[in-house]
């Protein structure tokens, strides 16, 4: 899969997909989207990049191993639930807060942190598997 066109557009495509995945993740609470879908999109992005430029480059770009990302995701998802214990409400009860910056009101909530955890768990796991599979592929 090392055609010139693919290798040229892959980085751009990947960048757009990753940005889009974050967009999908963050809007997910009110419109179609969310951590799971966002994670899948990002994982596809990473898989495409891997096919185009090789696994070694992707690993370099990711800095951390994708499976660690997945572990981090599960960790923060679980951790977001702990925050509610501080308010003496059951585990994983959603807490909501608002920050106003000028005219914009930004919502911060534990479900959002949870969703980010889901995102990382999905993107980490799938890209780890995809990269590991591509690795054998590239070696040929």
């Amino acid at each position: 899969m090392k055609t010139l066109i693919f290798r040229t557009i892959a980085p751009t495509l990947t960048a757009i997909m990753v940005v889009f995945s974050i967009f999908v993740l963050l809007r997910g609470h009110n419109e179609p989207g969310g951590g799971f879908i966002g994670g899948l999109i990002a994982a596809s992005a990473i898989a495409i990049y891997g096919i185009a430029v090789g696994v070694r480059e992707v690993r370099k770009a990711l800095v951390v191993d994708p499976i660690s990302l997945a572990g981090f995701g599960v960790f923060i998802a679980g951790f977001s639930g702990l925050l509610s214990l501080g308010q003496s409400v059951p585990y994983l009860t959603g807490l909501w807060g608002y920050i106003s910056i000028g005219a914009t009101k930004i919502t911060i909530s534990t479900p959002m942190i949870f969703d980010i955890g889901v995102y990382f768990a999905v993107v980490g796991t799938i890209s780890a598997v995809a990269l590991a599979l591509e690795e054998g592929d590239v070696d040929k």
Partner: protein
């Protein structure tokens, strides 16, 4: 009940756990002082608990605790009465010296911090066990003692023998623990109570129920495995593989006494029946004789002590089973006596081992000259073992023999059970005394022999515990008035659940009593056995050689049989033939859907198709084209991609019918499935085309059609019924005001069903790790990323490994794992 008390008692029970968490750090920073620092914890617990003794002696009790799982009515509750406080005092008191002793015994060991941590964990579990009121917390602590003792016995994990001993102890005591859990649950079913103190009043009811034998059997199984009763006794001698401090602690006052504690605790509820009075004395009596006899066979100090421990536990079970006032007082006294002298003797055995490098009594001799303090400790210990007057053990023996209540010779035959019991105890005690004498004379008297190390007196920490325990045993043995009223009376009364006032005496009057006569007889018999012990040992060694098998061998045989069986079962189900897996799964699916419909089969009405608009026809056509392409495809790759087409068509349908989230996810899953499947295909180096013969194709086609038709029929018939919209309405109503989200699907995922999602992403992560492991096993280890060999990340090495890899025969394992991924995600 004040809240201070709640906190105090809970803290006393849990403090060792905190100390255990700190132990490795304390050891790192303070090195050789760690033992002295950590011993403060059990010492403080001991002093704290002493403050309850006065109250306990008045037969009062204290209960304390916190809510734990309120929805099940389970509290972390503690119940302090004579029995539990006495046990807790033994655990913390002896524990203090054991911590000191451990630090000295293993000084310089690089994992001493870990060892002390395990010790404290064990101590905490044991304290929790004896103080627990709640049956569930009792069970939790009970299992914790099994687990921590596993860690302790297997501490020297490099040696195969200690690993085996650890597993053996865990299997046997853990298995008993399961029986205990079943018993606890049954008891809860009957009484609807979790607290032992509440269950006491149910005693007479339970004993008359039909289910009583089952409850009793389960509890006895738990107690007998823990307390090493025949035929579960063999784990205890093997557990001597542990470092000596472990033996000194686990086998004197703690682990093995947990079963005794349970029997004593449950005596008011389960005891006193015919079954109780028959099973316990028989099992206990047999264990007593067996253990004592086996002890005579040994020449290793620790093994001798271990086997006599088995015997002593048998004696205790026997006494609890007899259950008369005298027997219960004797059990309590003997419990104390045994904790003192056995703890001391184990510590001495470790000290001797430490000083001389051997524990074999045939290689030892004359140690009294070089280890005078240790000699004094061993002298007192053996005096306890023999039940010499002025020790607690003597009083215990007097009470034991008082079981025989006779006024004339004919009574001996009339109450033949009691006569038999006393005879068994006499024999057992005599044999144990002979073993004690052997240890004393062979190892400490006579000529000094040359040993691997030059014998020398150990450090203070090594002998202080043994000496203090010995001195305390004598002190307690002479203060009979206090001993009787403060300890023995209250404890025996707790066990019996009615007032028992033991008649302890230590004066010239007793010289004329029957128990004293039997005691004297015991000494005589014991001395005779001692004189003949060499011959007895020779005979026993020959006999056991002739028999040729032991419980150990039986255990190994069972364990390996279990492993072989599970391997056979696994091989049967996990044959590794991928198409068979699929066939089994899909046949199962087809049956599950078709069978329920057979009973009341009404072919559902085909819903009238609404007129489809042209783009709906388009999508439909797309799905059909995709499916046909899958079936007709010449190569596997094309089939995979075609499957994607069909999936995309389904995703479009989702979009059209108002499920954008679902459609969205479906798109992504389809894309990734195709990518991953294609990647897997290239790794597997399969032939491009499948090589199924016609009948296999026919079989698979028939199966696919069956599943497809069943699903369709099922869906149609489901749709015939009105849909229950309550949940949907609930979510639609509450999603914005409660969960602040307009996207109900997402709100359900991250809020309403957050815990489920957390579980799901954990599964995703675990699956990912498993897949990585499988890929890396096939690929000969990781080349990059986590776990890759450091410093050899150059691509050259990876390339070198490739030829070998591609030559390897492909297996279906990695296919399986990789295909599981997309399937798992679309759910």
């Amino acid at each position: 009940m004040s809240s201070d008390l709640d906190v105090g008692i809970t803290l006393a029970a849990l403090a060792p756990f905190f100390a255990a968490a700190l132990a490795p750090f304390i050891h790192r920073f303070t090195k050789s002082y760690a033992g002295w620092i950590l011993a403060v914890i059990p010492a403080s617990i001991f002093i704290y608990l002493l403050s309850f003794v006065e109250q306990m002696s008045r037969r009062e009790f204290v209960s304390a605790g916190f809510e734990w799982i309120p929805s099940y009515g389970i509290r972390l509750s503690f119940y302090l009465d004579g029995l539990s406080v006495t046990f807790a005092l033994l655990i913390s008191g002896i524990g203090t010296f054991i911590i000191l002793y451990s630090a000295a015994y293993l000084s310089g060991h690089k994992h001493l911090g870990r060892f002390l941590s395990f010790m404290l964990l064990f101590m905490g579990s044991m304290l929790g066990l004896v103080l627990s009121d709640n049956l569930i917390s009792l069970f939790v602590f009970w299992e914790l003692t099994s687990i921590t003792s596993f860690l302790l016995i297997g501490f020297d994990h490099v040696r195969q023998a200690s690993r085996r001993a650890a597993i053996q102890a865990l299997v046997i005591t853990g298995g008993g623990g399961l029986a205990l859990l079943a018993g606890i649950l049954l008891l809860h079913q009957i009484t609807n109570q979790w607290d032992i103190s509440e269950i006491f009043v149910w005693g007479s009811t339970i004993k008359e129920m039909d289910i009583y034998p089952l409850v009793l059997g389960l509890f006895l199984l738990g107690a007998f495995t823990k307390s090493a009763q025949f035929p579960f006794h063999f784990w205890l001698p093997n557990a001597m593989e542990a470092p000596t401090p472990v033996s000194a602690y686990l086998h004197s006052a703690t682990m093995v006494k947990a079963g005794i504690y349970l029997l004593m605790r449950m005596n008011p509820v389960l005891g006193g029946t015919t079954e109780w009075n028959i099973i316990l004395p028989i099992v206990g009596g047999f264990t007593l004789l067996w253990g004592a006899a086996m002890a005579m066979k040994q020449t290793d100090l620790k093994q001798m002590l271990a086997q006599t421990t088995v015997a002593s536990l048998g004696l205790l079970v026997l006494l609890i089973g007899v259950g008369t006032d005298a027997a219960l007082s004797a059990a309590v006294l003997y419990l104390l006596a045994h904790a003192f002298y056995k703890g001391a003797l184990f510590m001495v055995a470790g000290g001797v081992d430490h000083a001389t490098g051997t524990r074999d009594i045939t290689q030892l001799g004359g140690l009294w000259k070089v280890m005078p303090v240790t000699f004094v400790a061993v002298l007192i210990g053996v005096a306890g073992m023999a039940g010499v007057p002025a020790t607690v053990a003597f009083l215990a023996k007097e009470e034991m023999y008082a079981v025989l209540e006779v006024s004339s010779v004919s009574d001996l035959f009339e109450n033949w059970q009691n006569t038999l019991v006393v005879f068994v105890m006499l024999l057992g005690n005599a044999m144990m005394m002979a073993v004690g004498l052997t240890i004393l004379v062979k190892a400490f008297l006579g000529k000094l022999k040359t040993t691997p190390h030059k014998a020398h007196e150990g450090s203070l920490s090594l002998w202080i515990g043994a000496l203090v325990l010995g001195v305390f045993a004598i002190w307690a043995g002479t203060q009979i008035k206090y001993l009787g009223s403060i300890i023995v009376g209250p404890v025996a009364s707790s066990v019996a659940n009615f007032q028992i006032s033991p008649k302890l005496h230590l004066d010239f009057e007793m010289l004329t009593t029957l128990p004293f006569f039997i005691s004297t007889l015991t000494w005589v018999v014991g001395f005779v056995i001692y004189l003949a012990i060499e011959d007895i040992r020779a005979i026993m060694l020959r006999t056991s050689k002739a028999i040729g098998w032991t419980f150990d061998i039986l255990f190994d045989w069972l364990m390996f049989g279990l492993i072989k069986l599970s391997a056979a079962v696994t091989r049967f189900w996990h044959h590794g033939r991928w198409e068979l897996y699929l066939i089994v799964v899909f046949v199962g699916v087809a049956l599950a859907m078709a069978l329920p419909m057979i009973g009341n089969f009404n072919m559902p009405q085909m819903p009238g198709l609404q007129a489809l608009s042209f783009f709906e026809w388009g999508i439909f056509g797309m799905a059909v084209v995709g499916l046909s392409a899958v079936v007709l495809a010449k190569t596997r790759l094309i089939a995979i991609v075609s499957l994607g087409i069909q999936g995309f068509a389904v995703a479009l349908i989702f979009m059209l019918f108002g499920a954008p989230d679902l459609g969205f996810t479906q798109f992504m899953v389809e894309t990734l499935s195709v990518v991953i499947l294609a990647l897997v295909m290239t790794r597997l180096h399969l032939e491009q085309r499948d090589a199924r013969v016609p009948w296999e194709v026919a079989r698979d086609a028939a199966l696919s059609l069956t599943v497809g038709i069943s699903v369709t029929v099922l869906m149609i018939s489901v749709l015939q019924n009105p849909i229950d919209l309550r949940l949907s309405e609930f979510f639609a109503l509450t999603s914005v005001p409660i969960a602040h989200g307009h996207n109900i699907v997402n709100v359900i995922l991250v809020d309403y069903r957050g815990l489920d999602t957390l579980g799901e992403i954990s599964v995703v992560l675990a699956t990912g790790i498993a897949i990585l492991a499988l890929i890396r096993i096939r690929g000969g280890g990781p080349q990059t990323g986590v776990g890759a060999p450091k410093g050899v990340k150059k691509p050259k090495r990876a390339r070198k490994a490739t030829p070998a890899k591609s030559k390897r025969k492909t297996t279906r394992k990695s296919t399986k794992s990789a295909q599981k991924k997309p399937a798992g995600q679309s759910t």
